[in-house]
Symmetry: C2
Subunit: 773 residues, 2 copies
């Protein structure tokens, strides 16, 4: 009561008193680096605003019909290419994993057939170790950005965070071979996340017209000169990744929409749909090709696709409680999973910081530990006699099947080995399959669940490409099946369906998607009649899990330090104005500026945008003309269109430039100010910035509330937001807001008062609730 | 060549010359009325901006945890209620239609069994006429806004267009009973579109807390005080509508996302998913209830759901050409359909303008015409002998079935009557069904296709609730089946699947959605293996059709005159500045304003937002303080918090107001200035506007390009955008931009030069292409 009345009193005061005293530091101290993959990198923002300068307008106006047609045609051709390439990579990936892992399991199983268990373990663990070592060495030395699933990195990129190397050719290459060898090495990791990253890399490289570094560029591809078009392509690429990984074209589109993209348009929906349709059709054709057995051990296993069609799934009211129970368990386990993964990642970060060799050592220890578990645990399970009416050979001969012999006598099988001593895909298939209700023992399923749960947490953070989807599905399916076995004959659903629902609940609890997960699971299992149950399970598990913590990818992004701009504002931002946050000192240019000044400013600051003002004699009082980008200034300095006196240049100056000079360079490919040589004489000359200045920058008045400025910044995807003064007597610009100025850490750092003041009372529940709903 | 060089020359000039001479009219002459349903209404804009005034901030700060929890809880409870109510209405709708139409067909068929053809025709046509008459009278007299499908109206509402009565209780009521009787009267119209409108009405009424007009309000429901929250609810409602109409929960979410919503957030995706999940679960429970035959003639027919599962659909490369052909035909027919429908609607508008009786007469003539066609055409078809191995009774006895006897002898059936003398749902089911490859003759299918195509065009515009989805599906299915028959045994697909693909292609060609249609069709037909083919067909048909004209709903919106703000800007907007478009004269208020002035301005203008400026003695030079809304001014005048001298009021003034005073009223429910009585004495008093003024309005500088200002306006969902001057010597505000200022017609009206100048060259292809891609 008393706190309330005190709060009430301060609230009343706050209307007349200024909200904050002006003790604010001047430099933005927010960290502008993040962990990309496994390495710490400096990061920049992307710029989705169109720099509408005279040159751009001129270029835009002179575009004829043919160029516009060419642009549209290129857009769609690139989408087609993305679809084809990503589906080929996805297919190759699958064939390689199935064959490498398959041969390993066949050799080991054969040795065990002759009771050479020691030798079998040696072969199994050494081959796993070698594969992991290879993957980790390649990742650590060649492209650290390829470590992990890549989904957080791509998600941050699509939010406007530019980190060098995130989508480079090197990353693509390492991601493909690293993912193949890591997944084949029986680590408890998936290949769907890396596929998303691969799709994004392919899209980005095509959009940039190849990799400049490796001189693999195609001029006809260099059509997309801005971050906007590239963002759209990368969104399509990530949709293609999921579509190729799960053969789920609609699910892929929805995944890109729900989880990955920060900006979305209806037109993009259509293009993403086109890309995933291409993926679906190419994959289908390739699988037809493999049906005849030309793809080695691939074909029986095949792409992830778990046909559980029981033509008439019937369920009744009696099944609802157990389905709800599954949802609740999924929510609790999912949030626990996220919490533990977050902790482990923080610990791993400490280890990874120590150096490359620590990273590789960590990866190898996890591999050895995994091998021991996978080989050791099945010994705990008792052998089961083969069922008389088994629809397939028992015990299984060769590669995939439900009945692994392992250490058992002929005519018996080891049910735990069927799950654990197998590829993840086969384990899922076994768990999902129907008419196998008596195949597994309680203890085996329970051991399998615990192993999966913890192994996948400890395996994610090592320095290899590693996805989360498949481990989460396996873990969810195992406890789903366990619940199914507990419910037993009370239920009209078979255990395979419980496994599917369990997988859905754990996915919902840890990844917190709804529509996309629902469609992905439907497409994976090819049974539409399950729809209402899957929706129910997802809703329950997401609701329960959201009460505890956030989406797993958001947590990972936070651990990695990406300045991700959320949609919603923190409540205290509504009480702050833009003026409370904007920092100086500000570097300005005049419309007609001395070359020496420009060079000096570019050399001494790292800013990427500078306000341009007009002063006397062009205007009576200083007036804001616009905003010029560093990249454009460097281009101007390179071309040296200087004049010895401060006079405007004519339109003919445009002839010295082509549109591609002002196009956005690929990440890290821009010229640096240090590379440009300018003579002493030129330093004294003048440059007319007007035609190259974006004369329509977005502006906010300094008294605007921070929350509303943030909405503007976020919705329009800006990199720079100019702050203009309320009263006109001062300089025409107060400052520039960038992404880092909107980060809660920065704002709370500027105004430490906010931390322990009455705002806190509001901050926690509100931000929590608004994040969730 | 010569034109090119001339253009080049003018382009060069344009850099130095001002783009436009300042011959511009002062008033915004754009029509601010639109056809809503069947009547012409004045329209307003909705306001998605938060009016951040001191009062709001105070209210926001004093909200405790409980209130926030209450808010979130209400949000989800309303979603739950929307789901339950919409599914109940949808179910009731279906039962009513199936029973009314069913009884009609049973009686008619029985009469024909005894060769009383004349009597049968009389009963058939009179019952149709009575039903149509009832529907049209109810619609025309009670709620003209309920005419048509309602999708264009809801789409416009979700874009920020507020028309009175669009989502009122009266509209809801008429839409339900009108749709039932119109669909039962064998008109060639659907019930899916009306269901979307019904869902939107339910959501809006719940969001507003009931209908004030009919005193049906619940205080505990009045929680959502702004257009933003209501928009979200209406989006969920429209998703629920499609989900209930087609039993397609995921399709419903995607439809709302792809076609209806102009703004979308990930959180909304989840809520829409929740709503449609509720719909799916309730519908399933209700259908279970009906399975035992308690629902009259409903149950055998049931909700639209066409199970065409042939467990193993196989298709090969040889099927691709015919599928592509279907896509191309669908695209051409779809755009032709849109074109003709557009024409017919324009003609109908002329008739409808003449008065209510013309409208009803038109509806009745269409009904009689339809009855004649439906009864007359089957006589053209020759009777077919019943197949020996028919899986059901032949000829059909009673209500639904594949083999209608019509005029044939016993042991024979009339294949055209099975299609045409039937409800649309049954016709679709017959067309989609497999193992019926020899049932239909070429001529029957062709006659049916032509009849459907034209009847549906002529039936849409009459003054009854009428959807487009089902007629489009029937028409598409009929030519799909025709193509299937032509291809014949060359193909491995059966004719039923061709009908499905034909329906997909025609939907794609006329509605131009992709992902949502794809999912809706999958959910309708319950066969996931068709996915790649459906994707292919949709892509081809949409691409082909987009080359000719736009989406059917966009065309209808244009005919109706809704000021829909598209995502993309017209190219010439990039060459104009905000200053070229903004119109005056502008009404300003001072921070401390005389009551008399306020009343006078409110009485003499219809503006909804006014800039508030601070002048001496509060500030040295005039300074923009913010923007105040008309509704808030009226509220202030009502409470009469005046002071006799111009002094700021203290914080205690807030105690006289509650947050709900400043909440957005339901459409048409706001107080009018004429209703407020103010004495002469009070007219001389002062009002402090500061605490009630939105101190953080969005602003643009007058030199900003119109295209970029438009992006800001559109993306943030604004109603008012303040334009501030570049040079500070003048008034601190130049003007206000509203939705109508961004309409191409308005801009071209202001600057007729743009019409016939070089811009035209660019305007057509660019706008066309950017709309499409």
């Amino acid at each position: 009561m008393s706190t309330n009345s005190i709060n009430g009193a301060t609230d009343q005061e706050s209307l007349t008193l200024p909200l904050l005293t002006s003790h604010r530091s001047l430099a933005n101290s927010t960290s502008q680096v993040a962990i990309v993959g496994a390495n710490v990198c400096p990061i920049e923002s992307l710029d989705y605003e169109i720099a509408e300068n005279d040159f751009f307008k001129q270029d835009w106006r002179t575009r004829g019909k043919i160029q516009i047609f060419q642009y549209v045609f290129m857009k769609w051709s690139l989408c087609f290419l993305i679809g084809v390439i990503v589906s080929l990579i996805g297919f190759f990936n699958n064939i390689a994993v199935e064959n490498i892992a398959g041969i390993k399991f066949v050799i080991t199983s054969n040795m065990m057939l002759f009771n050479r268990y020691g030798m079998a373990f040696l072969v199994f663990s050494v081959s796993n170790l070698v594969l992991t070592l290879f993957a980790s060495i390649v990742t650590a030395f060649v492209a650290p950005a390829a470590a992990g699933s890549g989904i957080p990195e791509v998600k941050a990129y699509l939010n406007g965070v530019d980190a060098p190397g995130i989508l480079s050719l090197r990353t693509l290459f390492v991601k493909i071979i690293g993912s193949i060898s890591a997944v084949s090495s029986s680590l408890h990791i998936g290949k769907a996340g890396p596929m998303v990253h691969i799709g994004a890399c392919v899209a980005s490289l095509l959009g940039q017209g190849g990799s400049k570094k490796y001189r693999l560029t195609w001029k006809w591809l260099r059509f997309f000169k801005n971050d906007r078009d590239r963002r759209d392509l990368v969104t399509c690429g990530s949709a293609a990744g999921i579509a190729a990984a799960f053969r789920a074209p609609v699910g892929g589109v929805l995944f890109a929409l729900e989880e990955m993209a920060s900006w979305w348009r209806s037109a993009l929906l259509w293009r993403a749909f086109f890309v995933t349709a291409v993926v679906a059709i190419v994959l289908r054709a390739l699988i037809d090709l493999c049906l005849s057995g030309k793809c080695g051990l691939f074909g029986t296993g095949g792409l992830i696709m778990f046909d559980v069609y029981s033509a008439n799934v019937t369920y009744h009211l009696i099944d609802v409680p157990s389905v709800l129970l599954l949802g609740v368990i999924g929510g609790i386990l999912g949030s626990l999973y996220n919490f533990l993964l977050d902790m482990v990642l923080r610990v791993y970060n400490l280890i990874n910081e120590k150096g490359i060799f620590y990273r590789i050592f960590l990866a190898c220890s996890i591999s050895i530990f995994t091998s021991c578990l996978l080989f050791g645990l099945p010994w705990l399970a008792s052998c089961q006699p083969c069922p008389a009416d088994a629809s397939e050979a028992c015990p299984t001969i060769g590669r995939s099947g439900n009945y692994k012999k392992f250490q058992c006598q002929p005519g018996h099988y080891n049910d735990l080995a069927s799950l654990i001593f197998n590829t993840n895909d086969d384990a899922i298939r076994n768990l999902f399959s129907r008419d196998t209700d008596s195949e597994f023992q309680y203890s085996s399923i329970l051991i399998f669940f615990v192993t999966c749960f913890f192994l996948s947490i400890f395996s994610y953070g090592i320095v290899v490409p590693a996805g989360l989807f498949v481990p989460v599905i396996v873990t969810g399916a195992s406890y789903g099946r366990f619940v199914g076995m507990l419910v037993g004959s009370e239920s009209s659903l078979n255990h395979g369906l419980y496994a599917v629902l369990g997988a859905a609940s754990f996915l919902g609890g840890s990844m917190r998607m709804t529509v996309s997960l629902c469609v992905i699971i439907l497409e994976l299992t090819n049974n539409l009649l399950l729809l209402p149950l899957i929706m129910l399970v997802l809703l329950v598990s997401k609701t329960v899990a959201d009460a505890f913590n956030g989406n797993i990818y958001d947590l990972i992004m936070k651990v990695k330090g990406f300045p991700y701009l959320e949609m919603h504002s923190e409540p205290y931002m509504r009480q702050l104005t833009v003026g409370d946050v904007v920092t100086g000192p500000l570097q300005l240019f005049h419309g007609l500026e001395k070359v020496g000044n420009i060079v000096h400013v570019l050399q001494t600051t790292t800013h990427n945008g500078f306000p341009v003002i007009d002063d006397s004699p062009l205007s009576e009082s200083p007036v804001l003309y616009g905003l010029i980008l560093r990249a454009h200034l460097i281009e101007l300095l390179k071309k040296k269109v200087f004049s010895s006196t401060p006079v405007p240049i004519g339109a003919d100056a445009f002839n010295q430039f082509s549109a591609s000079d002002f196009s956005k360079k690929g990440s890290g490919n821009g010229d640096k100010i240090e590379d440009i040589e300018i003579t002493e004489e030129e330093m004294e000359m003048y440059l007319d910035l007007h035609p190259f200045t974006n004369a329509s920058p977005y502006t906010v008045v300094e008294t605007m509330s921070l929350a509303k400025a943030r909405v503007l910044f976020r919705e329009l995807g800006l990199r720079h937001l100019l702050v203009i003064p309320k009263i006109s007597s001062r300089s025409p610009v107060v400052g520039i807001l960038t992404r880092h100025d909107f980060m809660p850490e920065h704002i709370l750092g500027l105004h430490p008062l906010l931390f322990r003041s009455r705002w806190e009372r509001l901050r926690i529940p509100l931000s929590q609730l608004f994040k969730i709903f």
